[in-house]
Symmetry: C2
Subunit: 215 residues, 2 copies
């Protein structure tokens, strides 16, 4: 059954197959969940579909056991095949309107935005959350966009309402508190967990901050 | 409405975004249809999803106008989004059983096989045709498999029945007649059309041979 968009909250950990990370996506997910992450996303840009599906099925089972939401990046076919909770669509991916109604009945749809104009466009799309970023400078992804800052994030939270906003880009423990105070429903990280010496501990610290228990 | 698998026949032209070809996939499709191709497949390995979808929609409209079948390689999300007739799944893609019933109601599903063992496995999968190859040596795709030959093709046609078999790999005008005589329902080509100086003429010649009007 499709989860409510109110479940979009807390720490959202992106698990990807970038060879820079010492853990594969499924092991990143395991560490993130052990640390208390409430949302996960698989981003498999290099794998075969068969490998991506194997990771997706494994992460879906882990997420389910922890009561966390699981999204697949880019591809609703993989999301459906793995029984994920949702699909996350970037600006270069299929548009949310291209996801057929039969798939939208089962999947939450997230959408990346990088400008206020894209946020306004996303309000007219069938999306369950709006991701906005990069808030700060980031090294995890090649980005054609400049850092947008906390004021822009607060503005986006206002115009996206009632849709939850996921903040992404350069967020670490020193900045997660400000991001939550700007109104983000969830804080998305990649390198702050995957690149940490202790991914589980890093996730736990971020979860505490996002929940207002620290920093 | 889903087309019958009996529509799997004739010349099947794979349109891909390999930079070797002088025409983009949509223009390859146009030439192939002008030459009489009855099936097309989009294989966009390098494009963004947005570009792949644009090509898919354009090829779908062209195919429809010509009464030809249109398949998308690998991804049933793109196939559904573009209103294609089917999806073609390789051995490293999602397995046919991973395509949800709601998608299978709309899409024909083709499956690549490269060994008799894979053909036998495909008989137990929800597939509408079985592609087998490479029949001959091929330069269009990196293949981990040796050329399989016409005797193996005839054997596959026998064990795949009643499912139609699509032969692929190194097939050109000099060999298409033998492939049809071995029992293939359709003859799939890439470079024989995309790499031809006159793609439309090359398609027309192949269509004639496949229909038993030449060579």
């Amino acid at each position: 059954m499709k989860k409510p968009s109110s479940a979009v909250r807390g720490l959202y950990v992106l698990c990807d197959d970038d060879p820079r990370w010492s853990l594969d996506p499924a092991r990143q997910a395991r560490a993130a969940l052990a640390g208390g992450a409430s949302m996960l996303q698989l981003r498999a840009k290099r794998a075969t579909d068969a490998q991506a599906l194997a990771w997706a099925e494994s992460i879906r089972a882990l997420a389910q056991a922890h009561g966390a939401l699981f999204f697949v990046n880019d591809r609703f076919d993989l999301a459906l095949a793995a029984g994920a909770d949702g699909v996350h669509l970037g600006q270069d991916d299929l548009a949310p309107a291209c996801v057929p109604a039969s798939a939208r009945e089962r999947l939450l749809v997230g959408r990346s935005t990088h400008t206020l104009e894209q946020v306004r466009a996303a309000r007219g799309e069938p999306v369950d959350y709006i991701a906005f970023g990069p808030i700060f400078g980031t090294t995890s992804k090649e980005s054609a966009y400049d850092a947008l800052g906390l004021d822009a994030l607060a503005e986006v939270v206002r115009i996206a309402a009632p849709r939850p906003v996921v903040a992404i880009g350069g967020i670490d423990a020193s900045r997660a508190g400000d991001v939550v105070r700007a109104g983000a429903a969830a804080v998305c990280v990649i390198s702050a967990v995957a690149g940490a010496r202790d991914p589980e501990g890093a996730a736990r610290a971020l979860v505490g901050i996002v929940a207002g228990r620290g920093a």
